[in-house]
């Protein structure tokens, strides 16, 4: 965790995708115009969120097996950072929607479902706040986290595919794969997923370190 080669890698990837995302060629599409470049910035936020929530579930499982308090801390802190990423994804998404679909909130299934998924994690935080006893709080919230995670996956990965959506790849709309020149976009998009996930992980480790210092300080 304290080595820094992966932090440099993440930064390089993010810088590369920012420059490449703004300068490299993209398909010419009506309505979308240049905003298609938002794909390199908006979608990686969701990817970062998913990475962080997966880390959180992983540590919740570990907590149930080990009842080690640091595992619980890791689970909470990654949820906290994941929520920041999800909010950023929601805001950038709604701005993009305003200038392509016409409204900030277009009642698109994916928008609605991700909002519900965020509620799920707010419920997790509310649950944590409602219990005072430390061990009990860690255990119960870990159980709720694991119980809720598959539901969130269904919510944002499976359900939108059943319904019509303005997002590409859902319902009747073609996926980005069907646009030509996709290999050119992939060269930026996949590094962006990786880069932003690493940045999210980095922020989470910082939060975790601060939190464990605080706890050491208080005890």
């Amino acid at each position: 965790m304290y080595k820094s080669w992966w932090k440099i890698m993440g930064s390089v990837l993010v810088i590369y995708t920012t420059i490449g995302g703004l300068l490299l060629g993209v398909p010419r599409l009506a309505i979308l115009n240049e905003t298609i470049r938002n794909l390199y910035f908006h979608v990686p936020m969701w990817f970062g969120m998913l990475t962080l929530f997966s880390i959180s579930v992983w540590y919740s499982i570990k907590y149930l097996l080990s009842t080690n308090q640091t595992d619980d801390l890791k689970a909470v802190e990654s949820v906290n950072v994941g929520i920041v990423f999800s909010l950023l994804g929601l805001v950038t998404g709604s701005i993009w929607a305003k200038f392509t679909w016409g409204q900030y909130w277009s009642f698109d299934v994916k928008q609605n479902f991700t909002a519900i998924a965020i509620l799920l994690y707010f419920a997790y935080l509310v649950l944590r706040n409602s219990i005072d006893e430390e061990q009990k709080r860690a255990k119960i919230s870990a159980i709720y986290n694991i119980f809720a995670f598959p539901m969130m996956v269904v919510l944002i990965m499976v359900l939108p595919r059943l319904q019509d959506s303005l997002h590409p790849g859902n319902g009747g709309n073609p996926g980005f794969n069907s646009y030509d020149l996709d290999s050119r976009m992939r060269a930026v998009l996949y590094p962006a997923f990786l880069g932003w996930s690493i940045i999210g992980y980095w922020i989470y480790t910082i939060r975790f370190r601060i939190r464990s210092l605080e706890i050491k300080d208080n005890s």
Binding site: L119, K139, I140, I143, F147, M151, V154, L162
Partner: protein, 220 residues
């Protein structure tokens, strides 16, 4: 075999206790029927079938939250200790879930009958609608049973129950409403296979997750 016996015994005990007082089922029935009457009095006729559908599921949702959350919240400490001694935690959650499923199926069937009679409208593909209702009571029971166990252990009853269960139940509700809308429109049944599959998948997922997680929740 021991596990099956434990489940059977616990289930028998639940049903026996309910049968003696008939408090939960009567209370829920009264709640559902009076809500339907209130809706009828305020709407009188309902031209819009989408409203008809949505209203039904909203009534069912609140009945389920009230009814199923009782399963753990209203259990005395002594009874919890008793079942803790005689059975394994997985058996307890399974018995509770099955009991809730039975109760919800009976309740929703009666409620659907009353609803259809009061509004004098029946969906064009009744069998499919009934399948949706059965699947609905199945998913409500499996999800709410586990969430009520979590809320009870957190020791902050009703309020927490609503906060924790709504985000979990909304995806199920969306699929249910879509499925029952297909039934109302009388679409070909092959169209609805996706939704039925997803609902079954969600139920299998929740039951497995409850069976694995509940033992951790149960031991103090």
């Amino acid at each position: 075999m021991q596990f099956a016996n434990e489940v059977k015994y616990l289930l028998y005990k639940e049903i026996l206790l309910e049968w003696r007082s008939k408090y939960a089922i009567n209370g829920m029935l009264l709640y559902v029927v009076s809500t339907i009457f209130v809706c009828f009095i305020s709407f009188v006729t309902m031209e819009n079938k989408i409203t008809w559908n949505a209203l039904f599921w909203i009534i069912m949702l609140f009945a389920a939250i009230n009814g199923v959350s009782k399963s753990f919240l209203q259990e005395s400490k002594g009874r919890q200790l008793y079942s803790y001694i005689i059975a394994s935690p997985a058996a307890i959650i399974l018995a509770k879930t099955i009991y809730n499923i039975l109760m919800m199926v009976i309740l929703t069937t009666i409620a659907l009958g009353v609803y259809i009679i009061v509004f004098s409208y029946s969906p064009s593909d009744f069998l499919l609608f009934y399948i949706a209702v059965i699947l609905g009571s199945l998913s409500f029971s499996t999800i709410f049973t586990m969430v009520s166990a979590i809320a009870t252990k957190a020791g902050n009853g009703g309020m927490l129950m609503a906060v924790l269960s709504f985000p979990l139940i909304i995806p199920v509700l969306i699929v249910l409403i879509k499925l029952s809308k297909n039934a109302i429109d009388g679409l070909d049944r092959s169209v609805s296979l996706d939704e039925i599959g997803i609902l079954l998948l969600i139920n299998v997922m929740t039951v497995t997750a409850s069976l694995i997680l509940f033992p951790y929740l149960w031991k103090d």
